[in-house]
């Protein structure tokens, strides 16, 4: 029902007004949505609680696997036997699904200590230690088999058990994180 006499200039001004209002409304809506999305991220308390944890290796006997937590995630600390290290080192890296040499998965000179995340890279179940065809881990959920270096050998898991960030603070003590 626009007046016939309306000029083109007025048309432009009106269109600009509508576009500006629509744009401002869209900006308002988008800024209002952000807090609702942002609150889903880990809160300050959770982030702060993820501070590095120290772990004393002394009580872990050879052949033993110990479970501990960092940031709520399960971590295996495995004191490997000589045989276990040997088979891990001698494996043909090229034949692996996720080719990784054993040496890059442990700290130099500390090859008896394997530290890996404790959730299967398939869908997150906890694999059973000293089990499976390679005597590393066997995931009870879908049958993924890991070797004594935590590398995927059989089953549906796509990658090796990842190594968390850690370092030796002394000969028998590691700090994870």
């Amino acid at each position: 029902m626009t007046d016939v006499a309306t000029t083109a200039a007025e048309h432009t001004r009106r269109d600009f007004l509508f576009i500006a209002t629509g744009a401002a409304g869209a900006v308002a809506a988008a800024s209002a949505i952000w807090p609702f999305v942002s609150q889903m991220a880990p809160d300050a308390d959770t982030i702060a609680a993820g501070a590095p944890v120290e772990f004393d290796l002394t009580p872990v006997a050879e052949g033993q696997i110990v479970k501990l937590f960092w940031r709520g995630k399960l971590i295996f600390v495995r004191h490997r036997t000589k045989t276990e290290i040997k088979t891990a080192v001698e494996t043909d890296v090229a034949s692996l699904r996720d080719p990784e040499a054993d040496s890059v998965r442990v700290k130099a000179g500390k090859s008896q200590w394997l530290v890996v995340y404790g959730n299967c890279t398939h869908l997150g179940c906890v694999p059973l230690g000293n089990d499976g065809a390679f005597n590393g881990w066997l995931c009870p959920c879908h049958g993924s088999v890991f070797d004594t270096s935590g590398r995927i050998r059989q089953g549906p898991a796509p990658t090796n058990l990842p190594v968390p960030p850690y370092e030796f603070v002394s000969d028998q003590k590691i700090r994870i994180g």
């Binding site: 029902m1 626009t2 007004l17 509508f18 401002a24 900006v27 308002a28 702060a48």
Partner: protein, 289 residues
């Protein structure tokens, strides 16, 4: 407008009734004086140096009896707070022994504090805290600046809505700390209790906590503290610190609020003209709202 007149009349009547009813009260509570706060008003920000001083007062005096359970060491280094460096926070935390455990042997043990730890309570539990203080439990300080107030009568509580006066709690705490007096104004004070002008009922279990010169402030280049080391200054500083502890996101809140309101005013203006344009399409349009 008729509406306004009637509401104003109702307000006046209620104000009158209130005045009469108030006069019936035998003893009046002293009203805490208002202070200037850097964090008041729409653009309020905490004064970092004041928060640091207030923290020192809390740490050296109040913390002997009053817990502040929700305060983590890391908070002291977070944005909008006293602005300690990460190193200072770490160093401070490590001076505390934190009870942790149980370890693999099932024993509780003590370890060095970390920034993520909460401020340790001076007493193992509430009962112990009360027992050590003549049966009176020293309240936790986490949100105390928001948990204390004083009554604002008509029409002041309405005025506060527009002036954004929200510092009732800190004004009360400051007044309380300054409210100790030897002159008890005829109030009988039992042994082990103290007279305080601003405490409801005037009899408080806490002895006068602060004295001039008790807390040493950081010295400036001339070898003197930048602010007087007096009870009045201590009281204001520790009150400001408690306000921050109770509302650590205050600065962010006020900043965000300004942005939100400024933007909404622009949007409202745009919508107003859009609305006018659209309603102008009506052929027989007159001066319709």
């Amino acid at each position: 407008m008729k509406t306004f007149k009637l509401i104003a009349a109702a307000a006046l009547v209620s104000g009158f009734l209130g005045g009469v009813a108030q006069a019936q009260h035998a003893h009046e509570l002293a009203i805490p004086p208002r202070n200037e706060w850097s964090f008041a008003g729409p653009f309020g920000k905490f004064d970092k140096t004041q928060l640091q001083r207030g923290f020192k007062v809390y740490k050296e005096v109040c913390a002997n009896c009053h817990s502040i359970n929700l305060l983590a060491f890391r908070n002291l280094g977070e944005a909008g707070g006293p602005g300690f460096s990460q190193g200072q926070v770490k160093a401070l935390a490590s001076t505390f022994k934190i009870k942790d455990g149980p370890n693999d042997a099932g024993d509780m043990f003590e370890r060095e504090g970390r920034p993520a730890d909460r401020w340790p309570s001076p007493f193992p539990n509430k009962q112990a805290a009360a027992a050590a203080n003549g049966g009176a439990l020293p309240p936790d300080f986490s949100v105390i600046a928001k948990a204390r107030t004083y009554p604002r009568d008509f029409p002041w509580f309405l005025v506060d809505m527009f002036t954004q006066y929200q510092e009732h709690g800190v004004d009360y705490i400051t007044a309380l700390l300054l409210g100790y007096s030897d002159d008890t104004h005829g109030v009988e004070v039992p042994a082990g209790k103290y007279y305080n002008t601003y405490f409801p009922g005037n009899i408080i279990s806490m002895p006068k906590p602060l004295n001039d010169g008790q807390v040493e402030y950081i010295k400036g280049a001339d070898g003197r503290s930048q602010v007087p080391e007096t009870v009045e200054q201590y009281s204001k500083d520790v009150s400001a610190f408690l306000m921050w502890a109770a509302e650590p996101q205050l600065e962010k809140r006020k900043e965000t609020g300004f942005k939100a309101i400024a933007f909404l005013i622009v949007l409202a203006g745009l919508l107003y003209f859009t609305k006018k344009k659209i309603w102008a399409r009506i052929e027989d349009h007159h001066s319709q709202a």
